[in-house]
Subunit: 104 residues, 2 copies
């Protein structure tokens, strides 16, 4: 994928996670959502730290310990490892493109 905003998946029944880069201590993913919340049950509880930015659209990340963070285009957020969280909302009317950098 040469352009992060192009070639968006046409089937968005499920959220789509696409690897962009994989290195020893870092990996980068494009995540495309449209009205999805995730995970379906419970919380993400990740081994890696995550830095995420919304490239297009809008979404909300809820932390188990609070707060709830609403992200519009250009907004970014760091999610420390094991900081339990979920995507509690993404815009149902348009595609949301996230860029996520996971690191150790």
């Amino acid at each position: 994928m040469r352009n992060l905003l192009a070639g968006l998946p046409s089937d968005l029944e499920d959220e789509v996670f696409e690897p962009i880069l994989e290195a020893e201590h870092v990996r980068i993913e494009r995540i495309v959502s449209k009205g999805h919340t995730s995970p379906q049950k419970g919380w993400y509880d990740q081994q890696e730290h995550e830095w995420v930015v919304v490239l297009e659209g809008a979404g909300t990340v809820l932390f188990e310990q609070g707060p709830e963070v609403h992200l519009e285009e250009g907004d970014h957020l760091t999610i420390p490892a094991h900081s339990r969280h979920r995507v509690s909302w993404t815009d149902p009317e348009r595609v949301t493109v996230w860029l996520a950098v996971f690191y150790l």
Copy 2:
């Protein structure tokens, strides 16, 4: 800086490099250019690998060993460590916002 596309520096006489995240094996920077080329002399020759994406505007990266890669909004590029390169052009008419992830 909460939003990567907001709070752009008003003084763009020089290119502006702003740290977003600094961790053991990865650091993330916002780079704002407007007609700049860099470095002023010679080539970047970096210890770290770099993954870069254009968030806004347009720019061109020239590798010493070729090729020259033109990047528009959403286009991304990986620059391996010690792969000598320079920014040979950025749009002089509008601001170019780069997001750069440096990693070991």
